[in-house]
Subunit: 299 residues, 2 copies
Amino acid sequence: VAERESQIVLGIDPDPAALWPRSAREPVQGSPAEQAGAAVLDHCRALIDATAEACVAVKLQMACFERLKAPGWSALEAVVAHARAQGLLVIADGKRGDIPVSAAAYSQALVGATETPFGTVRGLGADLMTVNPLMGRDTIEPFVAAARDVGAGVLVLVRTSNPGAADIEDAKLEGGGAVWELVAQTVDALGRSGVGEAGLSDVGAVVGATVPGHLERARELMGRATFLLPGIGAQGGRVEELGPAFAPGRAGGLVTASRSIANAHQGKGGEPAAAARAEAERLRETAWALSDGVAAPFR
Amino acid sequence: VAERESQIVLGIDPDPAALWPRSAREPVQGSPAEQAGAAVLDHCRALIDATAEACVAVKLQMACFERLKAPGWSALEAVVAHARAQGLLVIADGKRGDIPVSAAAYSQALVGATETPFGTVRGLGADLMTVNPLMGRDTIEPFVAAARDVGAGVLVLVRTSNPGAADIEDAKLEGGGAVWELVAQTVDALGRSGVGEAGLSDVGAVVGATVPGHLERARELMGRATFLLPGIGAQGGRVEELGPAFAPGRAGGLVTASRSIANAHQGKGGEPAAAARAEAERLRETAWALSDGVAAPFR
């Protein structure tokens, strides 16, 4: 964040039926999934190239790749490599959660590796992965342990950006507080042993930007967590309301935007790449300026 | 269930480092992931062939395939085809959950299809998929809608089988009841419009067999839901305690077992296939006999 002066995460959730116009590249032969996988990869590379300078990370929506099955996973791997080559961190957004033995297997897929009789199979090599905490602490711990082993991190769903988040996450508990606040306490507890030089923990939280009123309380409960802040743009959230996220430092809040960047040309006209670059830069400037006033200095 | 006289679901969660001894098949060339994918597929086919007669479905733990990336997804597809050829239903156990647009994308991957400029990409073609309800009703609905479109179904995580399930799922709510009971009410509400000829809904629930005390209450709250019952065997649950699951009919409870079937030879000796077949058949007989006394007749 300090190096790139950016807290912007480029959300990548490609719809094969709504990609940017294709480059002049030779069309790929193969099944519909293979052709779509290649087209999705072209699109993602162009989107990354257009916006990388204004961003610090990409967030890959795994559902959008998985619907293309094996060719989708091949594209996913290639997008990770391309993002890295552009100096970006990679967030694998799969919102995984399962019993401990399966959580460990997901961790192998996303940040670790799998030992086989045929040699080691390296996973996706993500820097961060989103995790669903519903099934409890013993299902989050394997993700944290696997991430820590390789210097990666975890982003736990605490209070998401969709309207339905009110149903379960906001449900009030008998002893006071809401379900999401109970999750926040777990995030804080798991993260205490993983605070790094910058004062932030390797156990972060997803906190939707659509309900900024929750941010202050979230920061109170999770003083050292990096917040991934979805919901800007297409979902209605505004960067200007995210101040509390940056209290522990400028990297305390990562603002993720997907459709508002990739589809910026639809509203504003112009070339998709130029419009995406301009929108990413606008978000970068807004967040950077906002966090200037509230953030503790980098240590 | 009626046709096969079985409520047993074969859980498939292959570890490439602990597969059944390989067949005489020519070794595959390629990367470690490709070789491991081929070996995993061989193992899964052998496991299905050994136990299919005693089972009604397979449950594929997606994490175990995803850690082999694209070759893992290719193996996953081939395992689905093999299970179908053996007359088994397929449960995609990915415990997915996300904002509505991404939930729809996961549904395309698991039960639906994706339209692309290059033709339709068919998804995995599962009959049921497991869904994580934490993010609320609007994140479950796209899965239900997509499943209903193709005659498939959804299994919502209600009360899971791991010890940590007590942390969030069992948390007591201000108005009475626990978080899992609130989820159960949502399952029941979403499922009312999807009750079929057998009296069961296309919105089912995952209810761990490790806490049988919850089963009676779960059945009270979700009268028409099919319960997927994990936790038998390796996790300590016993088939004999699952009675309430079968109240709406014999298909009201599907008993899933993974390691206790695949690794039966480790405890009891003998060939892996024979031991697995014997264990699956033992579970089948036990559940069938148990449900004889409690289940309403098929309609």
